[in-house]
Symmetry: C2
Subunit: 229 residues, 2 copies
Amino acid sequence: LIRLSDVTKIYGAENKHPFTALAGVSLQIEAGEFAAIMGPSGSGKSTLMHILGCLDTPTTGEYHLEGDNVDRLRGDQLAAIRNKKIGFVFQGFNLIPRTNAVENVELPMLYSNTPPEERRRRAAEALRRMGLAGWEGNRPNELSGGQQQRVAIARAIVNDAPLILADEPTGNLDTKTSAEIMELFVRINREEGKTIILVTHEADIAAYSRRIIRVRDGLIVDDERREGR
Amino acid sequence: LIRLSDVTKIYGAENKHPFTALAGVSLQIEAGEFAAIMGPSGSGKSTLMHILGCLDTPTTGEYHLEGDNVDRLRGDQLAAIRNKKIGFVFQGFNLIPRTNAVENVELPMLYSNTPPEERRRRAAEALRRMGLAGWEGNRPNELSGGQQQRVAIARAIVNDAPLILADEPTGNLDTKTSAEIMELFVRINREEGKTIILVTHEADIAAYSRRIIRVRDGLIVDDERREGR
Ligand SMILES: Nc1ncnc2c1ncn2[C@@H]1O[C@H](COP(=O)(O)OP(=O)(O)OP(=O)(O)O)[C@@H](O)[C@H]1O
Ligand SMILES: Nc1ncnc2c1ncn2[C@@H]1O[C@H](COP(=O)(O)OP(=O)(O)OP(=O)(O)O)[C@@H](O)[C@H]1O
Ligand SMILES: [Mg+2]
Ligand SMILES: [Mg+2]
């Protein structure tokens, strides 16, 4: 499904303080895998996730998604692939401030031309799955941190994309809510065959995955398949 | 130091969907304590922290900070007390986007009229203590999630305030960096006598505190003093 070959990402390559966030990453992920990416703060995990999610392009190297070479695509072409194939949960949620929860979750379906009633129904259902029934009309600043995070997760799963990328999806959630979200990811992966890649710094969250990829200073230093929960 | 008496917070009290985020909280915290607030997502922890931090006022009830009745203060008076007495780490960091890391950390000292050279020196020192020496010139969107979080912590400690309120300060940090931040909080509390109140959902972070206050549905359901790490 995913093949990265010698990918680098250098921020500010054109100015006097270039910073190498990814120093040469090669990675292969099969359809249906459930992997966790771990590593120190600043090690390049979100940069790697943004490239995997077609939100950013590598400075050098290749990225093949379902056999298509996406690293050289730009603009509308990249957005079209991204919207169809990928659900993304941002580390900072990235919800639209002046828009309520259900409209935020509907957003991916606007791009795929889903009819309005079906959009509203599926968005409300995704919020219900996240334990947020009753909070559809709240705007992000009327929601707690963990509630905003769950709206962001609902938005990532609503379009039924085959690949879910979640950057620290439980960072603001209590233990019980975290466990509920992870059980949902396990179910989506096992019953619906979705590929899931999540970044976490919590070992008990990574324990739900069947593969742990460790990143340090922009390189993959460890990559181990294991039994999940 | 802190005395809350029967504090309630009702959002939207004036419209048709009032929501009671705090249903009657009484709490006393002595100077020099190190307390953790825990509870499910949406239970009212951040709302409580914003009232303790003089960033919001109760709907009903009283809040005495160092003997001053602050619940009825507004605007400039509230900001003056807040800036002098409290360092606040927001759950969403709340860094100013178009401003670099060291200027974000300097912000509290602008209010207290610290001279520019001393402001710059103390802000750089606070960033160094957070492991961010070399990142002073980066803007928030040029920093990782955990780096932004550490800039927010540096901003909270730079003004040497007697009370530090930190809302999920390690939510985006790996285990090693989290431990370093917690050791710093323990040092600030033990050696400098600062009062520290932090919200966390991680038990191993709460283990550094000497008191655990549990919140559920806008009420304190448990409040226990214990040995810290
Ligand atoms: N401006 C607002 N208008 C309406 N409801 C609000 C507003 N702000 C917060 N709330 C609600 O108040 C409740 C408490 O929010 P709060 O942010 O204090 O929770 P929390 O315990 O910090 O949760 P988390 O662990 O997810 O950060 C939530 O259910 C939230 O939806
Ligand atoms: N636009 C940018 N310009 C310059 N440097 C950047 C930019 N974006 C990220 N960086 C740097 O690249 C490095 C990797 O960032 P990244 O966000 O991938 O880290 P991370 O592993 O996700 O960290 P965290 O666990 O703290 O979220 C960081 O040191 C960061 O400062
Ligand atoms: Mg990150
Ligand atoms: Mg909160």
